[in-house]
């Protein structure tokens, strides 16, 4: 199993080789570049134009061929490379540690998202009758209505009795006062 040090060393070697190759290419193309510069300075008018057009046509052909090669090879090469990179990297931890999701979400216009939602269509897809029926069955609404009605009726009767009893006491006190009757041994509390 390769360690991080080994992988770093291999990367350095590859980069060094690439740099050497690039230097070699620059050195090897030095005569061509020099000749091109002289040709551009020496030639004039139509000769230079014909030369430029011929070189441009050759360059365009090469570019098209390179593009075809890239389109054919890159998917084959890129996919394994990406898979290797993703296997080596824990994207979830990476996002969690380096990405502020709250800040991202705060930038999102949720109101526009909600406005775009067709709530009527969602509601139409829900069987409201069945849902209401299930809620009523679970809640036992008839029992609640029955108990509350009984409670209201019972409280109403109790209140009526209490008020009439108080009126009885008030009448008794009035009559005692009118008849100038002395207070009872233990008068009823007011």
């Amino acid at each position: 199993m390769t360690t991080a040090t080994d992988r770093r060393a291999a990367t350095d070697i590859l980069l060094g080789a690439g740099a050497c190759a690039l230097g070699l290419v620059r050195w090897s193309t030095l005569p061509i570049r020099t000749a091109t510069l002289i040709a551009v300075r020496v030639t004039r008018g139509t000769t230079r134009d014909r030369l430029a057009a011929a070189l441009a046509a050759r360059g365009g052909l090469l570019r098209r061929r390179l593009r075809l090669i890239a389109e054919a090879t890159l998917p084959v090469v890129l996919r394994p490379v990406l898979e290797a990179v993703l296997d080596a990297v824990d994207l979830t931890t990476l996002v969690r540690e380096h990405l502020d999701l709250n800040e991202l979400v705060s930038d999102v216009d949720l109101e526009a998202v909600v406005v775009g939602i067709d709530l009527d269509a969602i509601i139409h897809r829900i069987d409201l009758a069945a849902l209401a029926s299930e809620v009523i069955n679970v809640v036992d609404l008839p029992r609640i209505v029955r108990e509350s009605s009984e409670t209201i009726a019972s409280e109403t009767v109790q209140d009526m009795r209490t008020e009439c009893a108080r009126a009885d006491d008030a009448v008794a006190r009035l009559v005692d006062r009118l008849l100038r009757r002395g207070p009872a041994p233990n008068p009823a509390p007011r």
């Binding site: 109790q158 009559v175 009872a184």
Partner: protein, 182 residues
């Protein structure tokens, strides 16, 4: 006075008048139902020559008298209370705080029907008794929560006692609870 402290104390004129009015409505509705029943029977028997019955006044009064007497007597003798009494939480007991029997209940019912104004004597009486109660030696008490046997249990309520509870058989002179004269 709380509801619990008012239990078994004699009922006053307002409560008893309201209960009597409810009973009167019940009797009137029953009489009306009987009238409609007679009319319906007559209509079924002679539909072509049907006309609303027109009973003689004496017959109407007699029916009302019998109906009211039976209704009141049956209620007081069986349960100590009529529909009006149940609504107002009142119960008719004897002076000894026992259920009234059929004879006393019937006599009391006749007196109530013939002389309803005697109920107003409750306002004047120190012991909250009507003329009928004095004649029939009965008593009307508040009984909002308990059954007949509990209400009719002989209790001794001495003046000044805050609570009512079963102790022993009451003396001949019944003590009615604090604040009320004999």
């Amino acid at each position: 006075m709380t509801a619990s402290s008012r239990e078994y104390t004699p009922a006053g004129v307002v409560s008893r008048v309201v209960a009597a009015l409810v009973d009167a409505v019940v009797v009137a509705v029953t009489a009306g139902g009987m009238f409609l029943t007679v009319a319906a029977a007559e209509f079924i028997w002679r539909p072509k020559s049907f006309s609303w019955p027109k009973p003689a006044p004496w017959l109407s009064l007699a029916v009302l008298f019998v109906l009211a007497t039976v209704y009141l007597a049956a209620g007081w003798a069986t349960n100590g209370r009529t529909i009006g009494g149940s609504l107002m939480g009142l119960r008719v007991l004897s002076a000894a705080r026992r259920p009234v029997g059929w004879s006393r209940a019937t006599g009391r019912a006749v007196l109530c029907v013939l002389f309803p104004i005697g109920l107003l004597w409750v306002a004047v009486s120190g012991s909250r008794r009507s003329v009928q109660d004095l004649l029939m030696r009965s008593l009307v008490v508040h009984d909002w929560h308990h059954a007949l046997d509990a209400a009719a249990r002989p209790v001794a309520v001495s003046p000044g006692a805050g609570e009512v509870g079963p102790h022993r058989r009451p003396p001949r002179s019944v003590q009615l609870g604090h604040g009320f004269r004999q």
